[in-house]
């Protein structure tokens, strides 16, 4: 996108915005527009020179900055921003797909309204481009229950089967945040039964129930999906065939081996480790420690014996 295009688009928004928010501070306006303070001041200066020919004093946009606040005299010409362009509407619609599982009907009606306010030309481009980006996430409709509970600060109950566990347990949680990590949906919250913050994967939750009881948010560290591929004490080597994929994931931390393979060090969390090694079907080998080698070996033998 050219700089002129980007700047013009911003400036056509600034005047109506300031007309609606008179006396907005320079910093707040810069934040709203996603530009630096300096860039905004340059924009505002340009705007004071804008008017209609023949450029009599009354023909200029009456915009000024005073005490770090921005003012504009009501300018009927620029009372509202221009309509959405085709690409703007298409970008919004494709981002919205992310939450489709959570809000089927609200999303459908929102997109219908969006399309209705597009001029004919933009509508055509919107339809063409609408199918060009696909960020749809897969999740059950229960995602909507979670996002609503977070918004309304209402407690949740659900059955949860953690990684590798064989039976689900009932959990009682104060939900704080819902997020998508590498395509997987998670709920982060305070587990009332365990008395600590916990992370739950949506696809392992069943029988979700939103409770009537509300809660006030506790102070909690930010949610973080543990990355077991982070440096740990377990040494794993990979064959040359799988090495390129490991290089992509581990970057410079993948140590090159003479046979074209790579070696990495990962976390020793047993359940994760065993599953991860198994998922390479023989392309990965735990070198040490011995307990980890044995755990992988046992798991593989059990799978083999169970498939005779």
């Amino acid at each position: 996108m050219s700089d002129v295009h980007e700047r013009l688009r911003r400036l056509l928004f600034v005047v109506p915005y300031v007309a609606r928010h008179r006396g907005v501070t320079v910093d707040a306006l810069a934040k709203q527009l996603g530009v630096s303070r300096e860039e905004l001041l340059r924009d505002l200066e340009l705007l004071t020179m804008v008017g209609r020919p023949p450029f009599q004093p009354d023909d200029f946009i009456d915009l000024h900055v005073e005490n770090d606040r921005v003012w504009v005299d009501l300018d009927q010409r620029f009372s509202k921003p221009p309509r959405l362009t085709g690409p703007e509407a298409a970008a919004l619609a494709s981002a919205a797909e992310l939450l489709r599982p959570a809000a089927q009907s609200a999303l459908a009606s929102a997109l219908a309204k969006l399309e209705k306010v597009l001029p004919a030309q933009a509508k055509r481009l919107y339809r063409e481009l609408g199918s060009a980006v696909n960020a749809r996430s897969l999740a059950s409709e229960e995602l909507g229950t979670l996002t609503r509970a977070v918004e309304e600060r209402r407690e949740l109950e659900f059955d949860y089967a953690g990684r590798g566990s064989t039976a689900a347990e009932r959990r009682h949680v104060e939900p704080v945040e819902v997020f998508n990590h590498r395509g997987q949906w998670y709920l982060y919250g305070w587990d009332l039964g365990r008395g600590s913050e916990r992370l739950f994967r949506l696809d392992r939750m069943t029988a979700i129930r939103r409770m009537d009881r509300t809660f006030s948010p506790r102070s909690m560290p930010p949610a973080r999906v543990p990355d077991p591929a982070e440096r740990g004490e377990v040494r794993v080597r990979f064959t040359a065939a799988s090495a390129p994929y490991l290089r992509e994931r581990f970057g410079g931390e993948a140590r090159e081996l003479a046979d074209g393979g790579v070696e990495v060090k990962v976390s020793g969390e047993e359940r994760w480790l065993v599953q991860w090694i198994l998922s390479f079907g023989g392309e990965a080998e735990v070198l040490e420690p011995a307990w980890a080698r044995e755990a992988v070996s046992r798991a593989a033998m059990r799978a083999l014996d169970g498939t005779r």
Partner: protein, 333 residues
């Protein structure tokens, strides 16, 4: 005069005009820009300005005069101003939350367009919009610094229907190759962005991971002319699967799995597009598989909550994979 300033002045003039503004009047109003130089050069300059305004969604038209009015350019005010879309709070929340999450992820195609769209739909909203409590985190790979910029360029190229030239290297073909691609679309799966397009080198539809693109250039000639059209029957969903065993590499086979424990209850969520059959105590899923090893490795990791029921060649291959892991870890079969 600065071009941005001239374009804004032009909009201001046309928004104020109550009758068509003739070319002669425009030349008079902008003597330095349209009034001097050869007719051909000034007309070209105005055509470029007009095209820029049209791209911004400004409804500028040329009207032929009649008895009542003269020839000239007219800006249709009723089509210029953003009308209030009338979103309900819930509709607003879903658009705003998803849009903000996409922006905050750091890599979303059409980032600038999305920012402007959010601002525009927020224009009529009273008061502060709530901070959305939804997030999106990408990142299944380390080297992603160039991804946002490449996504932005691909979005621009897909919008303008211009081909791109990419330098691409993948684990399977590590030697970088330069290809011309018509970008049909972009897909996000499991935190990884892919480009789907017509590859001139291979003369067919190909999928490229955006993080594996080393360099990217959009065809700069004739920016307002389409280089290609996307075939009407193109469906981007068909090219980038949700699960790795749907990659379309081998002829499809139907694989039946038996699920136990908590996984049985989550069959639908865990195996999208699978046929789920409840059989009394246990659950079975039937999958259409076009990359068998990918599924079998996944099942191996899920053991004993998932087992391969049929067909027999899939069971045999599963045993071979389990055997390979066991042998590498010193177990005797």
């Amino acid at each position: 005069m600065d071009r941005t300033e001239r374009l804004l002045d032009l909009v201001a003039l046309l928004l104020d005009a109550h009758e068509p503004v003739s070319w002669a009047e425009l030349k008079e109003s902008f003597p330095d820009d349209y009034g001097s130089g050869s007719d051909e050069a000034t007309e070209r300059k105005f055509e470029r300005d007009k095209a820029e305004l049209l791209e911004l969604g400004i409804p500028l038209t040329y009207v032929q005069g009649d008895e009542d009015r003269k020839d000239g350019y007219l800006l249709d005010r009723s089509a210029y101003y953003l009308p209030e879309p009338g979103f309900t709070p819930e509709e607003m929340a879903v658009l705003y939350a998803a849009g903000s999450a996409a922006l905050a992820s750091g890599a979303f195609p059409g980032r600038h367009d999305l920012q402007h769209a959010l601002r525009k739909i927020g224009f009529f909203a009273g008061g502060e919009l709530a901070t959305p409590r939804v997030r999106m985190e990408l990142g299944a790979v380390r080297e992603t610094a160039a991804v946002p910029e490449h996504l932005e360029a691909l979005w621009a190229a897909a919008s303008a229907r211009k081909w791109v030239e990419i330098v691409y290297a993948s684990p399977k073909r590590p030697e970088p190759s330069t290809r011309k691609v018509d970008p049909y679309g972009l897909v996000l799966r499991r935190g990884v962005w892919s480009l789907v397009g017509f590859c001139h080198l291979r003369e067919g539809l190909r999928t490229f991971h955006v993080h594996r693109i080393r360099a990217l250039k959009m065809n700069a000639s004739k920016p307002r002319t389409h280089d290609f059209e996307v075939p009407a029957d193109f469906a981007i969903d068909a090219h980038v699967p949700h699960a790795p065993w749907q990659w379309g590499i081998e002829p499809p086979v139907e694989v039946r799995l038996e699920l136990q424990g908590p996984l049985a209850a989550q069959a639908g969520a865990h195996f999208p597009d699978a046929r789920v059959e409840r059989r009394g105590e246990h659950t079975e899923v039937v999958l259409r598989v076009t990359l068998l090893d990918a599924l079998l490795k996944h099942v191996l990791a899920l053991w004993p909550q998932a087992r391969v029921v049929s067909p027999e060649p899939a069971r045999a291959r599963f045993r071979a994979l389990a055997q390979a892991v066991a042998s590498r870890h010193g177990a005797r079969a």
